[in-house]
Symmetry: C2
Amino acid sequence: MPAVVECVPNFSEGRRKEVVDRIVYSIQSVPGIKILDVEMDPDHNRSVVTFTGNRENVQEGAFRGARAASELIDLNKHKGQHPRMGALDVLPFIPISGVTVEDCVQIANKVGARIAKELKIPVYLYESAARRPERTNLENVRRGEFEGLREAVLSDETRYPDYGPRMLHPTAGAVAVGARMPLIAFNVNLKSSDVKIAKEIAKKIRASSGGLPKVKALGFALEARGMVQVSMNLTDYTVTPISEVFEAIVREAKERNVEIAESEIIGLIPLDAVCDLAAKFLKISRFGSSQVLERRIWG
Amino acid sequence: MPAVVECVPNFSEGRRKEVVDRIVYSIQSVPGIKILDVEMDPDHNRSVVTFTGNRENVQEGAFRGARAASELIDLNKHKGQHPRMGALDVLPFIPISGVTVEDCVQIANKVGARIAKELKIPVYLYESAARRPERTNLENVRRGEFEGLREAVLSDETRYPDYGPRMLHPTAGAVAVGARMPLIAFNVNLKSSDVKIAKEIAKKIRASSGGLPKVKALGFALEARGMVQVSMNLTDYTVTPISEVFEAIVREAKERNVEIAESEIIGLIPLDAVCDLAAKFLKISRFGSSQVLERRIWG
């Protein structure tokens, strides 16, 4: 099975289609790269490109995207609602199959060092690639945005980049390069109209209040459907599998005499996470995604 | 998503590697065909090739394999333990994604008609492609093998082929062309040493004794492990999903005060069947294989 690494660069341009097209074209020009999605957001004036490759070509694709953005986007002229500090603003690498998040940390370091050296753009390592603990949180890296960070690096040592020149690039700013696991957006709807129950359960299970690690959760009312929802982001399904999250919610709901209506997976989910759920259902101890027929065909 | 059809031709040659290589090469010579597996069995003197393609190229690959086999294998000289009636003996088409078993029946008809016309080999349609009810069972088609069928068609109208000349090809014999769903080999192990319990449950759930449709089941003792096993072949997981089979066994076991130890999936399983299990675990009403990240990359 070939390694698959996903890369989701965010560019500070969401209005000029010809600019976004040229950036995407530069990424796509690397053999073996597959563009999965391009989303332009005119309000945020920001575009999110999703592409995949192997360990090597994903680095080349990311670098070419960074270079094209630095040539085409001037942050001094950029306005939009979303916080940003660079023409290429964030560059996360995500392990999909045959690679680990540690491999993606290495990739982030290689690409970050190359962007710093060849494009003279300062690089901040974030999330799993962070070298300073506070930089695991992207918000801390981007605080003050382009204009604020440009000032901060003049005096504040804690804001110095991990690679490249200390001073921001005059037009392309700085870039946050990182590694993280794929996110899974997972909701469980409860047969209740009492939003307090969803909020209580969310608080009980989320990592930030001492619940399950790598789980973010909030409680909402779904008024049109007369239900309430525990809405979650699972930031590392290998640490806390979806099945464990679901079973914890079933337990908490039962204690409150509430039934589960149904669950939802929003967007995409990695094959390994799906296989894990299937194995749990059937009580299979050894079952891997290599047994999935399509994987033999496509992988 | 492109359509994926699997084809698993069985050839009556399992000893001369150079012959099998030439057959495989002829299939592989069609652009877009992917060879997943080649298994040579010298005792059976038979080879099983597994390949995939789309609706069109899978037909061309199958035909080229049939032609190569008819040029390279002489059944008059063939000896082996496995029953056989042709150089290319059986040719099943199996829907994997984006196609139905009905599509595969059409494909079987097109390829069968072409083999009959261009190679002058009689073709028998079997399983889902069968035109006579008794031919859904391959054993009935192949009864008497090459030597017996050669005699039978001289007088017995019920043994006439569906396509092509009535008389067998002098060296290549006849071929059974069919369509079927992918098989899933699924076992459930029970915490009991009483093989009667496994046999009872197998009888209760298998189609042949009035149980679940498209389920074949037998009970075995797993002596080394001190357990018993319900061993199954699911011949159409879209008619009876794996989850339903598993839940039926859990119910039957509970009635007999026996616990489930674990399950096993032997070999490959289609992605849609895995997604169905995941959705059942989480009570998701809308979840499809199109939400699997890798499918976006590979499909």
